[in-house]
């Protein structure tokens, strides 16, 4: 869906992106992870030509991006930035309708679609439609940012640290909501972050970058368990394996063992379950029509990591 072939971006002497190649498959979330200044944002912005590359080729939907009209290209790609970039002089409704308006949809369709998008991100349109961005909390503003990016139903979504400015509790909520939305919509997503937990939680694959180059590109399980070099290893430290638990629901490790003790919601992740088991000293938790145990969790994770 998005293919980079030997792409380079130079700013005078400085090389921000250095000969990178990768392919983001249709419907996958590809996380671009790395320390500040590693070129991850630049890589993202090369796709919608907010930054023009100096070398190499980029194809999206099998077509060279240079063959698209720049404005049309951008309208066909959803774009979410950390600061939300909501227009302060427009209401929430108008903000969400920006791209459909640019695409000259008829008004009724725009309004229906915008209301649908508000529902998708879990906000009541009766409450939010006429609000101005200044009246929103950080989490709400970011939801509107996502709703706006999805409004014209683009098949590709570029997200530049979309949840970076939100507090940790709301961030986790937004991440889970985003997973739920993605399971419904199956967009091809390039997602830039410097947050290791976020990368492991959300990514189908993680592309780790350093100094303008791709160091390793793999599934979260593989990149954590089989780091290619010391840089990758140090980036995930020991916590990476623990964070992998957040990708799995408690139902994935459930055993058909009746247990009448403490219960945990079937929506919880294995990481939540381990947290509860550690803090309460329980060996087993009832959930998902059975129960989970230390052994079961370990067995499942070992299977995952092979």
């Amino acid at each position: 869906m998005i293919r980079f072939e030997g792409v380079t971006k130079n700013y005078n002497e400085f090389t921000a992106v250095n000969d990178i190649s990768f392919h983001a498959e249709k419907g996958e979330i590809l996380i671009i992870l790395g320390p500040s200044g590693c070129g991850k944002s630049t890589t993202l912005r090369l796709v919608n030509r907010m930054v023009e590359r100096t070398g190499g080729n980029i194809q999206i939907r099998g077509r060279d991006i240079d063959t698209y009209d720049q404005v049309e290209l951008r309208r066909s790609i959803g774009y979410v930035i950390q600061s939300t970039g909501l227009f302060p002089h427009m209401t929430v409704g108008k903000n969400i309708s920006v791209v459909p308006n640019l695409l000259k949809w008829d008004e009724e369709r725009i309004k229906d679609r915008a209301i649908e998008m508000l529902q998708l991100v879990g906000l009541d349109h009766n409450v939010y439609w006429n609000k101005k961005p200044s009246e929103l909390s950080g989490g709400e503003a970011q939801r509107i940012g996502v709703a706006r990016a999805l409004a014209s139903d683009p098949d590709i979504l570029l997200m530049d640290e979309p949840f970076g400015a939100v507090d940790p509790i709301n961030r986790l909520r937004l991440q889970r909501e985003f997973m739920r939305i993605q399971q419904k919509l199956h967009k091809t997503v390039l997602f830039v972050t410097h947050d290791v937990d976020e990368a492991i939680l959300l990514g189908d694959r993680i592309c780790l970058m350093d100094q303008g180059r791709i160091v390793q590109i793999d599934t979260p399980e593989k990149i954590v368990m089989n780091p290619l070099n010391e840089f990758v290893e140090s980036f995930f430290k020991g916590e990476g394996a623990l964070t992998l638990l957040s990708r799995r629901s408690v139902c994935d490790a459930v055993e058909k063992v009746e247990f009448s003790g403490k219960t945990i919601s079937p929506d919880a992740s294995l990481k939540d379950a381990v947290g509860i088991m550690l803090s309460t000293g329980e060996e087993r938790l009832s959930t998902c029509g059975g129960s989970i145990s230390w052994d079961g969790i370990l067995r499942m994770m070992r299977g995952d990591l092979k």
Binding site: N48, M50, V71, E72, L73, R74, R75, S76, Y79, I81, S83, T84, G85, L86, F87, P88, H89, V98, V99, L102, K132, R148, L158
Partner: protein, 243 residues
């Protein structure tokens, strides 16, 4: 409608006062003569509203011209094509605002001749400066995030102006227009000195003959008009501002 309509109310009061003076010009004159206590003052043969409308016409024309010219110049300076020209323009504008208006008027006369046209040119140039300045500053201050988002969503350069930059800068731009108009109401009194008419005629003649009543007949409507313009434009600015 926004909460604060006090400016509109005060504007209406000042507006009615002006109307009263225009309608009852002769009584207004009689009152001023009585207050000044000077016998044998020459009464005006032309009613005050004639001077008032000359004045209004002058600031109206120069106002429209300077708004059109100033906003286009300012917008052009903020585009990529005008970026070379922006710094020079801003320096010129800052310098120009420090230039005394009577001197500007005096310089305009040799170019456009004595009378209405010369005065008009000077007023347009003078009003241009706060407008250009605020247009450039207003657009420059539009948040980079909003511009980034607009571009990233596929707005053309023109749409970026009409949908993002100009609406967001509108309040600052209107602030510049307000300043320009208020300055122009009083600067237009000087136009009388080059024979362009207006309420300044009364003031200039009054000063020449030491006639307080005559001076006040010009000065009071000019002051009220300046306050009126200030209040109404301030109200408009508040109505149109997104903040």
């Amino acid at each position: 409608m926004k909460g604060n309509n006090r400016n509109l109310l005060y504007g209406a009061i000042i507006g009615s006062l002006i109307l009263l003076i225009l309608v009852f010009g002769e009584d207004f004159q009689r009152i001023l003569v009585a207050i000044s206590g000077k016998e044998g003052t020459t009464y005006l043969r032309t009613p005050v509203y004639v001077y008032f409308f000359q004045h209004l016409w002058m600031i109206g024309i120069s106002g429209v011209a300077s708004v059109v010219l100033g906003t286009s110049l300012g917008i052009f300076a903020t585009t990529t094509h005008g970026s070379d020209f922006k710094q020079t323009l801003m320096r010129l504008v800052k310098l120009g605002q420090a230039f005394p208006s009577p001197a500007l008027l005096a310089l305009a006369v040799p170019v456009f001749g004595y009378g209405f046209n010369g005065a008009l040119l000077a007023l347009v140039i003078y009003a241009l400066m706060p407008i250009v300045y605020n247009v450039v500053v207003g657009i420059d201050e539009v948040s980079k995030d909003a511009i980034e988002a607009g571009k990233g969503m596929g707005m053309s350069e023109l749409q970026l102006y009409t949908k993002v930059k100009l609406p967001m800068a509108l309040s600052v731009i209107l602030g510049g227009i307000r300043t320009a108009m208020v300055i122009n109401v009083s600067a237009a009194t000087l136009a009388a000195a080059v024979g362009a008419g207006g309420l300044g005629v009364l003031i200039v003649n009054g000063v020449r003959t030491f006639d307080t009543a005559l001076i006040m007949q010009g000065a009071i409507p000019v002051t009220l008009l300046a306050i009126f313009v200030e209040l109404i434009l301030k109200w408009t600015q508040e109505q149109l501002s997104w903040k």
